[in-house]
């Protein structure tokens, strides 16, 4: 690579390689933020251009396509990597740090990838590394959730792989470039499906609210930032202007808030709001005008900061109280005042309150939709805005920190680095809200949008204020109760189990058949053999053959006992018995 661009992923991959070699319990943790600082410096200093062009197996790989679109995402990824690392600084488990470093590296790799092969490799790296952020919670629920998460992402990855290979056969290139809807082929749509899995586009979204609430406390902070937003980046890169996405994004925006309104687990509420917020971005990309794409990108930027902050706040609840279920919490503000204050900064940001960063990004998307004459979509995006404030802005903090008798749960101490990370994120949310230029200057297109006018301020405060009144009226109805709501993940599991039985049924049928064959041929053969040896024995060679006759009969009895009903046992025994029968046949007739 040239001196003009040092790939940010290099910092994180190097760290992931070095961390396992470090000895001692604590000192090395102070160095963990280093790669994020290095990556941020690299992004700020990077000049547009193409770097890291490599030839591999006759293909041209482009590791560093640096332009305004990739830089704005890399900018916020570097900041969020720093915040996430700061938040996880107290974690002693090296595997956790390695997983998060590789995950972030994957995200940077995708962001700067100029060809589909490079993209695919880093895409899969993200899937594998993030799965460990779920598994490292180390309980049976998260283990199962991690497997489901991994399987679903593997499926998404396969769509991407199928698409890029078919595309290569048709076009002879892996170049990762924009596609216009009019010229899109089947392979483009396969790639699109792969991207949509990671963007949590409904109905491919259910892995997200299934897995994120089961991830480790800091793991979820990383995950909420990188997977879906990397997908937003690749959608913006390749599929801007796909009308399908405009509708799909609006459906996501509304779907997420509807589910969040009836959820109980704080991190699951926030997960549904990722689906909803990413919906704004997908819709903006789908509408494809300069303003809506700008809106989508700025919303992705703002979202990474405030959603990370919200997950950090909910993570503090889980860390301190041992649960993030609202039905078990209540009245915690007296004991966790700063957690509530930082959480509320994130909450008003996501709700689009003036002077916080959600306001300057969300309104750009909605305003862009109106300018593109997509009024129906714009109205539904406003509906989602109401639902966002209702659940994240009021319901979650009200039932965790404010309402009801104070929860008597004994609270674990929250390490200072977790507070520090939340303070950094909260400061950035506020700074961007007050100085929109901080964000607007980074966007891919020139910005012709003034977020702060008398009317937009009044409109926002009216919308939020009367949503608050709606909550006040409905506060007893909306109270969360324990329970989990049915979503598409149940359908995935049905489909998955269907597939498993589709594979297993023929195998177990074959196994049954084989057992039958073995019973009638093999066992009879054994018995005949035993009879033969008995006859031989009768002839008078007792002393030599007695033992072996008993052994053979014993094998017959033992093999009858191994029918345990386990498919693995069947397969193993079928193989062993098959070999044995072959051996016997060979011995008998050979």
């Amino acid at each position: 690579m040239t001196t003009d661009f040092l790939h940010p992923a290099a910092w994180f991959i190097a760290s992931a390689l070095v961390i396992p070699l470090l000895k001692g319990r604590t000192w090395w943790r102070w160095l963990l933020p280093l790669p994020a600082v290095g990556a941020f410096a690299g992004v700020v200093l990077a000049k547009a251009g193409t770097y890291g062009v490599a030839s591999y197996l006759g293909q041209t790989l482009v590791l560093g396509r640096v332009d305004r679109l990739s830089l704005v995402f890399a900018h916020v990824f570097a900041i969020q990597a720093f915040i996430g690392i700061l938040y996880s600084l107290h974690v002693e488990e090296k595997a956790h740090h390695v997983a998060s470093m590789l995950y972030v590296a994957g995200s940077f790799g995708c962001t700067f990838a100029g060809d589909y092969l490079t993209l695919f490799v880093f895409w899969e790296l993200m899937a594998v590394a993030s799965t460990f952020l779920v598994w490292l919670r180390r309980n049976p629920v998260s283990t199962r959730a991690g497997f489901r998460y991994f399987l679903f992402h593997t499926l998404g990855g396969l769509f991407l792989l199928a698409g890029l290979l078919l595309r290569y056969r048709a076009l002879g290139t892996f170049e990762f470039v924009p596609v216009s809807q009019a010229e899109a082929n089947l392979y483009d749509y396969l790639v699109l499906i792969g991207f949509c899995v990671n963007a949590a586009v409904v109905p491919l979204h259910a892995w997200l609210p299934d897995a994120y609430p089961e991830a480790t406390v800091p793991g979820a902070v990383f995950m909420c930032a990188f997977t879906t937003k990397t997908a937003v980046y690749v959608l913006a890169r390749a599929f801007a202007g796909f009308d399908l996405l405009a509708v799909a994004g609006t459906v996501m925006a509304v779907y997420g808030v509807l589910y969040a309104a009836i959820e109980n687990d704080a991190r699951r509420i926030l997960s549904y709001h990722i689906v909803s917020q990413v919906g704004y971005m997908v819709a903006g990309i789908g509408m494809g005008t300069e303003m809506t794409v700008n809106g989508a990108v700025s919303h992705a930027y703002a979202h990474i900061l405030y959603k990370g902050l919200l997950f950090m706040g909910a993570g503090c609840l889980l860390h301190a109280a041992g649960t993030a279920r609202l039905s078990s919490l209540g009245g915690l503000v007296g004991r966790l005042p700063w957690v509530m204050i930082f959480y509320m900064v994130g909450a008003v940001s996501i709700s689009g309150m003036p002077f916080f960063n959600g306001f300057i990004s969300k309104n750009m998307t909605i305003h862009g939709a109106v300018e593109a004459h997509r009024l129906v979509l714009a109205v539904f995006l406003e509906v989602a805005a109401v639902g966002t404030f209702l659940s994240v802005g009021i319901k979650l903090p009200y039932f965790a920190f404010w309402s009801k008798p104070e929860s008597t749960i004994e609270l674990a101490r929250i390490p200072p680095n977790m507070y520090a990370a939340m303070a950094v994120a909260a400061g950035l949310c506020l700074a961007q809200g007050v100085y929109p230029r901080l964000l607007y200057a980074l966007l891919p297109y020139p910005v012709h949008f003034e977020p702060y006018t008398g009317w937009t301020l009044l409109q926002a405060f009216m919308l939020l204020g009367f949503t608050g009144l709606g909550f006040y009226v409905m506060r007893t109805v909306i109270e969360p109760h324990p329970g989990r709501n049915l979503d598409f993940d149940r359908l995935y599991r049905l489909a998955g189990n269907g597939f498993v039985s589709m594979v297993c049924k023929p195998v177990s049928w074959l196994d049954d058949l084989w057992t039958e064959v073995y019973r009638s041929a093999g066992l009879r053969g054994l018995l005949r053999l035993a009879a033969g040896t008995r006859w031989f024995d009768k002839k008078g060679i007792d002393t030599v053959v007695d033992g072996s006759a008993y052994t053979v009969a014993g094998i017959g009895r033992a093999s009858a006992r191994v029918q345990t009903g386990n498919l693995q046992d069947y397969l193993a025994w079928a193989a062993v018995v098959g070999l044995a029968v072959c051996g016997l046949v060979w011995w008998w007739w050979g």
Partner: protein, 86 residues
């Protein structure tokens, strides 16, 4: 930290009525302001009328809670940790 927590806790337990009044007064001020401050050109048509976004927020919030919690929730809610079907 302790004193901030104490103050917030006192506010939570004792001053709810005061905050409620402040909230209602603010809502009234917003409505009154909307009579004077209007959009330059209405984006959706109806938003030219004062109080449109107030009604929109209230109706959508109440409607969302009623539909989701009263109608949909009983249909789709199950145990918190569903048994795995594998």
């Amino acid at each position: 930290m302790a004193s901030l927590g104490r103050w917030l806790d006192t506010t939570r337990k004792r001053h709810a009525r005061v905050w409620r009044r402040v909230f209602f007064v603010l809502l009234a001020i917003l409505l009154a302001a909307n009579i004077a401050v209007r959009p330059h050109h209405s984006e959706y048509g109806y938003d030219a009328y004062p109080g449109f976004w107030a009604v929109f927020g209230l109706v959508v919030a109440v409607g969302m809670v009623v539909v989701m919690k009263k109608l949909v929730y009983p249909l789709i809610n199950g145990p918190e940790d569903p048994p795995d079907d594998d």
